[in-house]
């Protein structure tokens, strides 16, 4: 318990300090663009703890979740297939190009093709999340120690077991690293998709609040976005710690041995 408390303090003391600083410097602010934090927080409570939680936050999170899931699955599946095949070397440059195109740039095209709906938004998010997972999985699978594959074969595992019990676990550190990148791209894509021809979602709230000069609402939405991003990152870290415990544990022991 004590340890938990200390970790939380270590993690949050600086953000708290910044918020305090913000609170006091913005007190009584007359600026149109930078309203007092007290006003923003009040608005935050109204919007995100109550009214807009269901109508805007949840749809955004749902689109984010589905998009990321679909993108990551496609990326992992295609990356595995590619990593195991001989053509990877030739296809990789092409994929690097695809990855380099910011997904935001494709939103008009996707809207043209799919119209404006949740499907369209999920497609945008999925498209953005595919590439980091795809490229990392390809690399991860390609670089597996050949000894491990020989071990899998000599243990007479069937193909499915070799894939799921040897190849994918061996590549998992790289796959998870790709997933982490995909998470942040998916968040960008989520907000981006809501800035175009949209009627709800955090991105939509930010856009419409700005257009209506409702700065407290915009700031409250930004704050919410920050919190969502932070929470997602935290979840990702927890997941990584659990799923890759063996990886970090081994790395630490190897480091200690070579020191």
């Amino acid at each position: 318990m004590n340890k938990w408390l200390r970790e939380i303090v270590a993690e949050l003391w600086l953000p708290c300090l910044v918020v305090l600083f913000w609170w006091f410097t913005s007190r009584g602010s007359q600026s149109l663009h930078f309203p007092p934090l007290s006003v923003i927080l009040e608005r935050f409570g109204q919007d995100w703890l109550f009214a807009r939680f269901w109508t805007d936050l949840l749809p955004s999170l749902r689109n984010f979740g589905f998009g990321l899931l679909i993108g990551a699955m496609i990326g992992a599946a295609a990356g595995t297939a590619l990593g195991l095949s001989r053509v990877a070397r030739h296809v990789l440059p092409l994929l690097e190009v695809m990855r380099a195109i910011p997904v935001i740039a494709l939103i008009p095209l996707i809207i043209m093709m799919l119209g404006t709906s949740d499907i369209e938004k999920i497609a945008i998010i999925a498209f953005g999340s595919i590439w980091p997972v795809l490229l990392n999985t390809t690399e991860g699978v390609r670089n597996i120690d050949p000894t491990l594959r020989d071990v899998g074969r000599s243990l007479t595992l069937d193909r499915g077991s070799v894939l799921f019990r040897v190849i994918l676990p061996a590549a998992s550190p790289q796959i998870v690293a790709g997933l982490r990148l995909s998470v942040s791209i998916a968040l960008v894509a989520t907000v981006g998709s809501e800035l175009f021809a949209s009627t709800r979602g955090i991105g939509y709230v930010i856009l419409s609040a700005t257009q209506g000069w409702d700065m407290p609402q915009m700031w409250a939405a930004l704050l919410m976005l920050g919190i969502v991003g932070y929470a997602l990152n935290g979840l990702m870290t927890l997941f990584e710690r659990r799923a890759l415990r063996w990886h970090w544990g081994r790395a630490a022991i190897n480091r200690a041995a070579t020191r």
């Binding site: 120690d145 074969r153 000599s154 243990l155 007479t156 676990p169 063996w246 544990g249 081994r250 190897n254």
Partner: protein, 290 residues
């Protein structure tokens, strides 16, 4: 039991063709421990891969009790040299040992029982829930051995299994291997660089030399069983056998020996010559040096 007939293997093709061995014959009988020795690069690992069904020979065949080995067989287990690369670091000891049983034993309970029996047999009880990388090198190699014997193979293949552990652990693992052979009645084929080890463990030692490699001699080891690290290794016959095998590997002919020329074959440097001659004096080597 294991029968290798006219086996040929080469790497590359056409102008780059490198023949590793040609028309190799060799066999291992049931319950026998056979060691394969030879200078570095002669093709021992290549031969092991062919026997394990991991590499396809260019010609000839490997048979196990009459079955053609053209892919890894269930009755054959392979212990790799590098335990740190051959154990799955994301699986605990029990998971590693259970892995080969997954598609052999349907019942989970029986699977666990078999895995526990194998872990017990290599003396690792109590370490089931540790990750391999939390164990010492010798213990990791024990895990690899447990994984190999968990499915009760008829033939255990080991490619330089003890090369990266300290001398004491090595001796322990040699004895462990012999004990497991007695316990499970399997045949064991070991590749080793260590001539002491080959004489100590084997019923027969197969000496490979040359390029393409050939079996220059198969040496019977008539030392009494069970072997013992101290009494076996101090027998006069042990020293004779070791000296004989060393000479075979270096390619010294009887003629060279009598004329007093020392002619180590290129590539034999890695052999543990220094250690071999320091433990027990080899009579004619002393004469030569004098």
């Amino acid at each position: 039991m294991l029968k290798i007939s006219r086996l040929s293997m080469s790497y590359g093709s056409d102008s780059q063709l490198k023949v590793i061995f040609r028309d190799l014959d060799c066999s291992v009988e049931k319950g026998e421990v056979v060691c394969l020795v030879g200078p570095s690069g002669v093709g021992k690992s290549t031969l092991m891969r062919c026997i394990a069904g991991l590499s396809k020979p260019v010609a000839g065949k490997v048979e196990l009790d009459g079955t053609l080995v053209d892919r890894p067989l269930r009755d054959v287990s392979l212990v790799f040299q590098d335990y740190s690369r051959s154990l799955m670091p994301w699986l605990k000891v029990i998971g590693n040992v259970t892995l080969p049983l997954l598609n052999r034993i349907a019942s989970k309970q029986e699977r666990l029982a078999a895995a526990h029996a194998a872990i017990e047999a290599v003396g690792l009880r109590g370490n089931e829930d540790k990750y391999p990388w939390q164990l010492s090198g010798g213990m990791q190699q024990r895990v690899a051995i447990a994984r190999a014997i968990a499915c009760k193979p008829r033939l255990l293949l080991m490619d330089e299994p003890f090369a990266s552990v300290d001398a004491q652990t090595r001796a322990d693992l040699e004895d462990l291997t012999l004990r497991l052979r007695d316990q499970f009645g399997m045949s064991v084929l070991v590749v080793t660089h260590d001539i002491d080890e080959s004489v100590y463990m084997s019923d027969r030692v197969v000496v490979l030399r040359g390029s393409p490699a050939e079996v220059v001699e198969t040496v019977d080891i008539p030392l009494p069983v069970p072997r013992d690290q101290i009494s076996t290794k101090t027998e006069p016959r042990f020293a004779e056998l070791r000296a004989h095998i060393l000479r075979q590997i270096r390619g010294e002919t009887e003629l060279q020996k009598t004329s007093g020329r020392v002619g180590p074959v290129a590539g034999s440097a890695e052999l543990n010559v220094a250690r071999a001659s320091s433990i027990t004096a080899i009579p004619d080597q002393i004469q030569r040096q004098a």
